[in-house]
């Protein structure tokens, strides 16, 4: 496997560890040092995990001495604050929640067994109910490429941790774009799998039908390596798909409504990304999604109605301490009639049928990940800006397809652009193979 993993930051760390060039302590100390310096400066961590980390090193050193090597041995990982991880309290970016989990989230248990070292819990949009990561209680996480701008969220601290090299991978959650938006703004890769492919048990629930666990990394290979620990034979399946698409090419559909509604700089970057894939002889068509402008209205009752029910006691107890944006969303969720929730779910079924038909003709669908450039921290009070952040991502939570964001050529403002790719349900391997091919250009 080492021979095919050319870009993987994880593989580089493991190679150096196995060759004795670096020790477990070197890896973890360096990660903690960065978390304490740039991580603090840009506000990516709510908790840095010193005690567990150093006790963990002793255990890992013992394994290494005994010749026991695990697939993610000593790999530093950052975890979003809404994912259960004993013995830490789950606070979901709030000062008022103090949940002591009885069990670890599934992904935490698996990664722990694989030898990772959890460096800390990351800053996030309060309760994961927003995409700015401007947290009224702990402050905003700042974009590593331009600290006057937002990271985006709600997994903003996780994206920052990866983008600044504190950890090669981080865990996030995605209910409307919360992995993909900060990954895009921070110039890294963010992936949400097909809904429920990574179990959401152990994540503070917002929406039963929209929540996803996702992975952020600097390249697709590291996402594949991580998923391989959860899904047996995953890496092999992806590379088989890669061989297949290299032989037969990709049928790509661009949804023009998403492109037309984007800022010029985003559009230009996206267009340059498409020019690159044309060199690979991908067959590219333009298509339309006629309901593009109503997506946020259909998602609202589903997401906010489910959130208001799931977190009702939290709202009742702590509403006076919540940020005004989050409180407002709860109020909408509490006020949506049940009949409208059901109608929204039925519209979702129609969209799923629409996309099923599209995926008979296309392997992958592409859009810009976000229609705007990363806003300045001072600009996100504006409700229109906040709505635009999720405009291109939320549809793929509503229909539950595997979706990834990848960096695209630079925009005028000197920050990387972004392209979002989505494939049919269960075709995560095909999507990641396509991403590998895109990154090869």
């Amino acid at each position: 496997m080492q021979s095919i993993l050319r870009k993987s930051a994880i593989q580089k760390i493991l190679n150096n560890l196995y060759r004795g060039v670096i020790s477990a302590e070197d890896i973890v100390s360096e990660s903690i040092r960065k978390a304490e310096s740039i991580g603090r400066e840009l506000n990516y961590f709510l908790l840095i995990n010193h005690d567990l980390t150093y006790s963990h090193i002793d255990k890992l050193n013992k394994h290494i001495c005994e010749g026991v090597f695990k697939p993610l041995m000593c790999i530093p990982v950052a975890v979003k604050d809404n994912i259960d991880h004993k013995p830490f309290t789950t606070r979901a970016g709030t000062p008022y929640l103090n949940i002591n989990p009885k069990l670890n989230a599934k992904i935490i248990s698996v990664l722990e067994d694989m030898g990772v070292v959890f460096i800390g819990r990351t800053n996030m949009h309060e309760l994961a109910m927003g995409a700015t990561n401007v947290n009224p209680h702990f402050g905003p996480s700042r974009n590593p490429l331009d600290p006057s701008r937002i990271t985006g969220g709600s997994s903003g601290g996780s994206a920052g941790s990866v983008a600044t090299g504190i950890t090669p991978i981080a865990l996030g959650t995605d209910t409307g774009g919360s992995v993909r938006i900060p990954a895009a703004f921070c110039g890294i890769v963010g992936f949400k799998p097909t809904i429920n492919r990574i179990p959401v048990a152990g994540v503070l629930p917002i929406s039963n039908t929209l929540d996803h666990v996702g992975i952020l990394a600097r390249n697709t290979e590291d996402i594949i390596v991580t998923l391989n620990t959860l899904i047996s034979g995953f890496t092999e399946s992806v590379y088989n798909k890669l061989e297949d698409i290299r032989n037969r090419g990709i049928r790509l559909a661009v949804i023009r409504d998403f492109v037309d509604a984007s800022m010029n700089s985003v559009k230009e970057s996206f267009s340059k990304a498409l020019d690159r894939v044309r060199e690979l002889d991908w067959k590219i068509d333009e298509i339309s999604f006629p309901d593009f402008n109503i997506v946020s209205k259909v998602r609202a009752p589903i997401m906010l109605g489910e959130a208001a029910a799931n977190l009702f006691d939290i709202y009742v107890r702590y509403r006076d301490r919540m940020g005004s944006d989050v409180r407002y969303l709860f109020k909408i969720g509490l006020s949506i009639p049940a009949s409208v929730y059901v109608m929204a779910c039925k519209i979702r079924e129609r969209w799923i049928s629409y996309f099923k038909a599209l995926f008979d003709r296309y392997d992958v669908i592409a859009t810009p990940t976000i229609p705007i450039e990363p806003p300045k921290i001072s600009e996100v009070e504006n409700i229109t800006t906040r709505a635009l952040l999720i405009k291109n991502t939320e549809l793929f939570n509503v229909i539950g397809t595997p979706t990834i964001t990848l960096p695209a050529p630079m925009m005028d403002i000197g920050l990387p652009g972004y392209i979002q790719l989505t494939a049919s349900w269960g075709n995560d391997e095909l999507l990641l193979a396509t991403s590998l091919m895109y990154e090869e250009i």
Partner: protein, 44 residues
């Protein structure tokens, strides 16, 4: 407690009714776009 819960809902609706009306209207219009036979098919 009963009073508090009803107050929670009343306060919420009072503050967001304009936005909720917009959402409700948009969804109903979209839902009704389909022919009645398609909306009622598949029932038991």
């Amino acid at each position: 407690m009963e009073y508090e819960f009803s107050q929670v809902f009343n306060d919420a609706l009072e503050d967001v009714s304009k936005d909720v009306k917009k959402i409700v209207k948009a969804i109903i219009l979209k839902y009704l776009e389909k022919d009645i036979s398609e909306r009622y098919s598949g029932g038991g």
